[in-house]
Structure formats: structure tokens, C-alpha cells
């Protein structure tokens, strides 16, 4: 049976084109001089200029970035610890905990969003601290980021050679020292990959942010959604192009940080 044939190449090319068509269109139309409609009316970069003057867009960008940074910091820490704990230690009910961990991956984000909305509304009755805003959004984002960080770090942990850690213990290091100086450095590529993943997830999230946001805490996806609802203006295309760029850079970085299948510094 032929492994790679012309029909396969052709189909795959079409499918790749299909996957990238929307991205290409948005980038292309961010340079479209037409204000309305889908017709092409000439090349221009004025929409990017208009973006810089748009205080709403800038505020949304700032919020999105802050949200991503804070939530990534927290979720990476918690997720990494969680991954290490699950990989190394046992406790009763661990199996249930592991299944529970996968819940945010499969629960529809709208269900999670409204559950959080309700929870914050209820907390507000006692603690004014839970006003909808950046704070609540960070809490929400961390919640769906943790499982993804955990999965990534755990797969990295599974590939580590246990003999190195055992050697460290044999040489007299205690548990904490082993973790600090041996395990953690080996885990770093996985942790970084997990962090980048969490960051991208936060950048692109819409539904959860939509339900847990307050005044002045509009994020870029929320801004884009309201613009789309009203009729897309070209500066949104410019904004989206920049957002796409950020996501693409993030994804490629994650791929670069993925470790090779076999650890390099070991005798095979």
C-alpha cells in the first residue's frame, strides 16, 4: 500500500489551507481600506494606527495581559506542585482526585462560567472582595489552567530517569534538596511548556471571562465579541491580527520547549 501518494498530499494541502484560511483572512483584511463589507478597497495600515489611539482597545489589552500573567503565575505554581505530588506520592482517594482533575478539560466552559458567576455572587453577600473584576477573572482562569499545566508537567515528569534522583539520594541529599537541585531543573522544560500553555489559554478565553468580568475589566476577546456583534470594524481586524500573532508566538515557543522523546544525557 502506497504510504504517501498524490491524493494524500492534495487532501492534506487542502486541509491545511482550510485550517489557516480564517487566520489569513483576518490578517489580510486588517490592511483593507474598506470600512464596511467584505469588498477589498485598497491596502492601508491606518487601522493599526487607529488602534494606538483607541483607549478602549489599549485598556482591554492591558487587562488581558495582566490577567494572563497573574493567572499563569498562580496556576503554574499550583499545577506543577500538583503534578509532582501526583507522580511521586500516594494517598487514599488519589484515583478519584485524578479523575476530578480532568473535569475542567471536559466541562463546557459555559457551565463552568455560570457556576463561577453564581459562586462569586454568593460570596459577595459576605465578602465585598468578590466584586466582579480582574480579581474574579484571575480566580476563574487559574481554575481551568491548573489541569492543563498538570498534564503537561506530569508527562515531562514521566519521562525523567528516576535513577538520577536515586543517585542524588544515595549521595546524601534529602528530599527537599533532591527536588530543588535535581528534579526541578530537569522539570523546567515541562514547567515552561505548561506555563506557556496556560498563558495562551488565558489570552484566548472568552466565555469564562465574559461572565466573570466587571466594569473596566474588559478583555480583548470580550471587546472583539461585542464588536463582532455590532458589525466588525477594520480596527478589530488589526487587533485580532496582533492577538493571533501573540498566540502563534506562544504556541511555537511551547513546541520548542517540548523535550525530545529520549533524555539526551544518558547512556542508552
Amino acid at each position: 500500500m502506497k504510504r504517501r501518494s498524490l491524493p494524500l498530499w492534495f487532501t492534506s494541502a487542502v486541509l491545511y489551507l482550510f485550517l489557516y484560511a480564517p487566520i489569513a483572512v483576518v490578517v489580510l483584511y486588517s490592511f483593507n481600506a474598506a470600512r464596511f463589507g467584505a469588498g477589498w478597497k485598497g491596502f492601508t495600515t491606518k487601522w493599526y494606527g487607529a488602534l494606538l489611539a483607541d483607549s478602549q482597545a489599549l485598556a482591554a489589552a492591558k487587562t488581558t495581559l495582566l490577567l494572563a500573567v497573574f493567572s499563569t503565575a498562580i496556576s503554574t505554581t499550583l499545577g506543577t506542585l500538583l503534578a509532582y505530588g501526583l507522580a511521586r506520592y500516594r494517598f487514599s482517594g488519589k484515583k478519584i482526585a485524578e479523575q476530578f482533575l480532568y473535569l475542567p478539560v471536559f466541562v463546557p466552559d459555559i457551565v463552568m462560567a455560570i457556576a463561577l458567576l453564581l459562586f462569586f455572587a454568593w460570596l459577595r453577600r459576605w465578602l465585598e472582595f468578590f466584586e466582579l473584576g480582574l480579581f474574579t477573572m484571575v480566580l476563574a482562569h487559574v481554575t481551568f489552567q491548573i489541569p492543563f499545566v498538570c498534564i503537561v508537567v506530569r508527562s515531562r515528569l514521566a519521562e525523567l530517569d528516576p535513577t538520577i534522583e536515586e543517585a542524588a539520594r544515595d549521595l546524601g541529599a534529602n528530599a527537599w534538596q533532591t527536588f530543588r537541585h535535581v528534579t526541578l531543573p530537569m522539570m523546567v522544560p515541562g514547567v515552561v511548556a505548561g506555563a506557556l500553555l496556560a498563558f495562551t489559554l488565558s489570552l484566548d478565553d472568552f466565555i469564562v471571562s465574559f461572565f466573570t468580568s466587571g466594569p473596566g475589566s474588559t478583555t480583548l476577546p470580550i471587546l472583539i465579541y461585542s464588536s463582532v456583534k455590532r458589525g466588525v470594524t477594520p480596527d478589530i481586524n488589526a487587533l485580532s491580527t496582533l492577538l493571533l500573532l501573540a498566540s502563534i508566538v506562544g504556541t511555537i515557543s511551547v513546541m520548542l520547549f517540548q523535550p525530545a522523546k529520549t533524555p539526551k544525557n544518558l547512556p542508552s
Partner: protein, 352 residues
């Protein structure tokens, strides 16, 4: 070297935690105003003027339909926003839900500028909670063609034979169902099950022939972009669009339509109540009120502002309909427990 990197990492974490905690709204500075308003409903210049005069920063959050606004306020916005702009029929609901703060009239001397027709409306006779903002109508926005002029009727949407081409319906239950009710000669505030069923079937049928639902601004933009021919919009949207594109027109169908009055209110737990009342007073100023209406091209309830409004605006029958049309316009009312009927209809319309 590893030790210092740990310490600096810990320090960095500590600093960012502190920053994060202080980014919390509780610590927000006091010279801010959070405005929650319909999209494209206020002149950005007015906002800038207010910011300059009162040394504050105004954040603008927008909504496309009234019910979503109420949902947001109910769901926590009551302590986040300082000024909100609800339509008339939702004010009684907000009062009953204790979502509104009483206005202190001593902070709003410009209240006297309001036209008597709009000061003290039926739902708030003493202007205890509301101040009229703008008023307008709901009607049909259409792209003209060289063929003979269309029949000004709601049948354009609800009668298959009269369909003028592609159209969109408005994404708001009271507006769309209300149009169907008016088409059949009923009241916009009907709670009669049979009438509602009829209206529901009309809208459902129209939906199947339509290009979907849009908010007023979105629908207006689609007509301008030529991706649809007809839409249901609010009067101001239409007037602004007609100025941009003279090939479009707006009319109120002969069966009658809706007249609405939007209001400025202050939510019960608004964080900047004093500034909010200053803002309301600012809007009521004669010149600012005129600037507002000259921008939004909706009708003003501000009697003192009329002298500063451009004459072509004052004489525009779309913005200020003549008496014979005014007679066919009806205000929406809050339906209390019957709201659930409309919710069910809306779900049925959207789901089938």
C-alpha cells in the same frame, strides 16, 4: 548562584502578589466614573469634557439590549457601575429589586431643564430615581431601490408576499414580539395567551426567512454594508445611518410602533455616587444636552437644550415624529409575572 535566584524569584513573587492585591477594585481611586450605556449612545467628546472639568476618568461599558443590561446589574453590577441607562419599562423592575439609589435633587439643579412631558414620567412621578436621557422610536430601516416605494407596514417582515429582500430581526424579545403584536393590531403589552401565540408564530416564520437576529446598531451596520436590505432599528441609529448613506430610509409602520424613553439612573451601591449625580447634572445642562442629541440624533427631553439643537435635526420627522404618528406610538410597560410568558416565547422562537 542558585540561592540568589531563588531569593529574587521569591521577592518577585511577593511584589507581584502585592501589586495584584492592590489592583483589586476595593483600592480603586475615587476619581473614576463607571458608565454602563447602550453602544454608540453618548458623544465621546462629552465624556472627554466631563473628564476634564471634573478631573476624573470615565470607563465606558456598553450593551446591545436592555435585558442583558439588567441581568448584568442584577448579577453584581449594582455595586460596580455609577451611571446606567435603562429603558422605561425596566425601571419599575429595578426599583422593586432595590437596584437603584435615590437621586439627591440638591445635587442636580439642572433637573429644571427637563420638558414637563418627560419630567416625572408615570413610573417615577417625582424623579426619585430617574432622569430622562433620550427618547425615540422603533421602526423599519430599509435600503431604497429604484422600484416603487415599499408599503410602510410590519408586513414587510411578517408577510411572505411583502418581503422586500433579505432582512434581519431585532435581537430583543419585547421589540420583535412587540412588532408582531402591533402588526396584528394588538397592544405591545398584551398578556393574552392567544395573541402571544399568534405573535410567536409570526416571528418564528419571519425568523426562518430572515438572516438572523441583530442588535439595533449591528442591524444598522449590516444594512449599510449591504449585507441585508431591511432591519428593525431604533430611530437614532437610522438617522445617523441615513446621513452617511442617503440610499437608506426609516419609517414607522402604519400599524403603529413603540416609543421609548431612556433614563439615567444611579445603581444602589454605586461606588462614586457624588460623581454620578454630577454627571447627570452635566448631561442635563442645556448645551451638553443639545450636543448629545446632535450626536446621537435621538430626540431630547431637555426643553432648555432645544435652542442649541441644529434646526435640521429639530425638523426631522424621524427624530421628532408629527402628532398623527405620535398617536400610534405606545410605551412598553413592565409585565411583572407575565414576563415569563415572553421568555418562553423567545426561547421557542430561538430554538425552533
Amino acid at each position: 548562584m542558585k540561592k540568589t535566584s531563588t531569593r529574587s524569584a521569591a521577592r518577585w513573587l511577593w511584589i507581584s502578589t502585592v501589586c495584584f492585591v492592590f489592583a483589586h477594585p476595593v483600592f480603586a481611586d475615587s476619581s473614576k466614573l463607571n458608565l454602563f450605556i447602550w453602544s454608540e449612545y453618548i458623544d465621546p467628546q462629552i465624556v472627554k469634557q466631563f473628564e476634564k472639568e471634573f478631573h476624573c476618568k470615565v470607563t465606558l461599558d456598553v450593551y446591545e439590549d436592555a435585558e442583558s443590561m439588567l441581568a448584568k446589574i442584577q448579577g453584581g453590577g449594582v455595586s460596580l457601575y455609577d451611571v446606567v441607562v435603562p429603558p422605561d419599562h425596566l425601571v419599575p423592575v429595578m426599583v422593586k429589586l432595590k437596584l437603584l439609589a435615590a437621586l439627591r435633587h440638591e445635587n442636580i439643579p439642572n433637573l429644571k431643564n427637563l420638558d414637563e412631558k418627560f419630567a416625572g414620567p408615570p413610573y417615577d412621578r417625582a424623579n426619585q430615581f430617574t432622569v430622562a436621557y433620550q427618547w425615540g422610536t422603533v421602526g423599519v430601516f430599509l435600503r431604497k431601490t429604484d422600484e416603487q416605494p415599499v408599503d410602510p407596514t410590519w408586513g414587510l417582515f411578517f408577510d411572505r408576499k411583502l418581503q422586500p429582500g433579505s432582512f434581519v430581526l431585532i435581537d430583543s424579545v419585547r421589540d420583535s414580539v412587540g412588532a408582531a403584536l402591533k402588526y396584528k393590531g394588538h397592544s405591545l403589552n398584551s398578556t393574552n395567551l392567544a395573541q402571544l401565540k399568534e405573535a410567536r408564530d409570526l416571528v418564528l416564520d419571519a425568523k426562518r426567512r430572515s438572516l438572523g437576529f441583530e442588535g439595533s446598531v449591528g442591524a444598522k451596520n449590516r444594512v449599510l454594508a449591504r449585507s441585508t436590505r431591511a432591519a428593525i432599528v431604533y430611530s437614532g441609529e437610522a438617522v445617523r445611518a441615513m446621513a452617511e448613506d442617503p440610499g437608506t430610509t426609516y419609517f414607522i409602520p402604519r400599524e403603529g410602533s413603540q416609543i421609548w424613553l431612556d433614563n439615567l439612573v444611579v445603581p444602589a451601591k454605586a461606588p462614586h455616587r457624588d460623581l454620578a449625580e454630577k454627571f447627570i447634572n452635566f448631561i442635563l445642562d442645556a448645551r451638553v444636552g443639545a450636543q448629545l442629541s446632535n450626536f446621537t440624533l435621538f430626540a431630547t427631553p431637555n426643553r432648555a437644550a432645544r435652542q442649541f439643537i441644529r434646526p435640521e435635526v429639530l425638523n426631522n420627522p424621524v427624530i421628532y415624529p408629527p402628532p398623527e404618528i405620535m398617536a400610534k406610538l405606545e410605551f412598553l410597560e413592565d409585565l411583572g409575572a407575565y414576563t415569563r410568558l415572553y421568555d418562553e416565547i423567545w426561547t421557542q422562537i430561538k430554538a425552533r
